[in-house]
């Protein structure tokens, strides 16, 4: 999937970015300073932060659904970027609940 995004990105297809919200990065233990993270660092994922109004929205998602901070940050990013993004997740149930709560047309892809 990263390959497809990379090909589309090079062609200038809009909305073809690979995004890893910062809270997901933390939860996944992706330490960019660690040697083993080298290959992952090179994939050029966008890593939006979580602060200000975004943090408020993520907190509201946690309050409403009781999901993790990382999942809530995904929800905040989904709401922020609009369109019909695809979410790669090992927890399609919670991601589906978040998308429904936000009224976002996200494609949930289980990995």
């Amino acid at each position: 999937m990263v390959d497809v995004l990379a090909t589309r990105g090079r062609r200038g297809v809009p909305h073809s970015a690979l995004i890893v919200p910062a809270a997901v990065q933390v939860e996944a233990g992706w330490d960019r300073g660690a040697a083993r993270s080298g290959p992952l660092n090179r994939l050029r994922a966008q890593r939006p932060g979580l602060d200000g109004p975004g943090a408020d929205r993520a907190a509201a998602i946690v309050a409403a659904l009781g999901v993790s901070v990382a999942d809530a940050h995904v929800g905040q990013v989904l709401a922020d970027i609009g369109g019909a993004p695809a979410v790669l997740t090992s927890d399609p149930h919670d991601m589906g609940r978040i998308a429904a709560e936000l009224g976002v047309e996200a494609r949930i892809i289980t990995i």
């Binding site: 999937m1 390959d3 497809v4 990379a6 090909t7 090079r10 660092n41 090179r42 050029r44 494609r107």
Partner: protein, 135 residues
């Protein structure tokens, strides 16, 4: 090539946090420059400089991402996905009904690659959609 790619990635990383900026002359089509200035005046975007930086970074990130993958496949050829696998991934990303038709994607990939050796996943999806439409 590897060293230059590493240098490119390093510069892109640094550009995310670097505050220092340098004045650079860039030749822009006049109408494009004026459109950027007008969009900024209308409050649709930040300054023309901001717009240029964002666009340049986005383009370079896209080029770098593709180059990183290609370099990885050169080192580890078995990691390179097949055209059918790429088409499958593209269909899933797009939420296309073709994702449930791996047989069709395989047929389309075989046909497309014979027509166009440099075909990519989107070419296969288009061809597969055509096959599905006439079936």
């Amino acid at each position: 090539m590897r060293a230059r790619l590493d240098r490119l990635l390093d510069l892109l990383d640094r550009s995310e946090s670097e505050r220092d900026a340098a004045s650079t002359s860039v030749r822009l089509p006049v109408a494009l420059r004026d459109a950027a200035a007008l969009a900024a005046e209308m409050g649709l975007t930040g300054s023309a400089s901001e717009l240029t930086v964002t666009g340049l970074r986005r383009s370079l990130e896209a080029l770098a991402q593709r180059a990183v993958l290609d370099a990885h496949y050169e080192r580890v050829p078995r990691a390179r996905p097949s055209l059918v696998e790429l088409a499958q991934a593209a269909a899933e990303l797009d939420g296309s009904a073709l994702a449930a038709r791996p047989d069709l994607l395989a047929r389309a990939a075989a046909a497309v690659v014979a027509l166009r050796p440099g075909a990519d996943a989107d070419d296969v999806l288009l061809y597969a959609a055509g096959l599905a439409a006439v079936a």
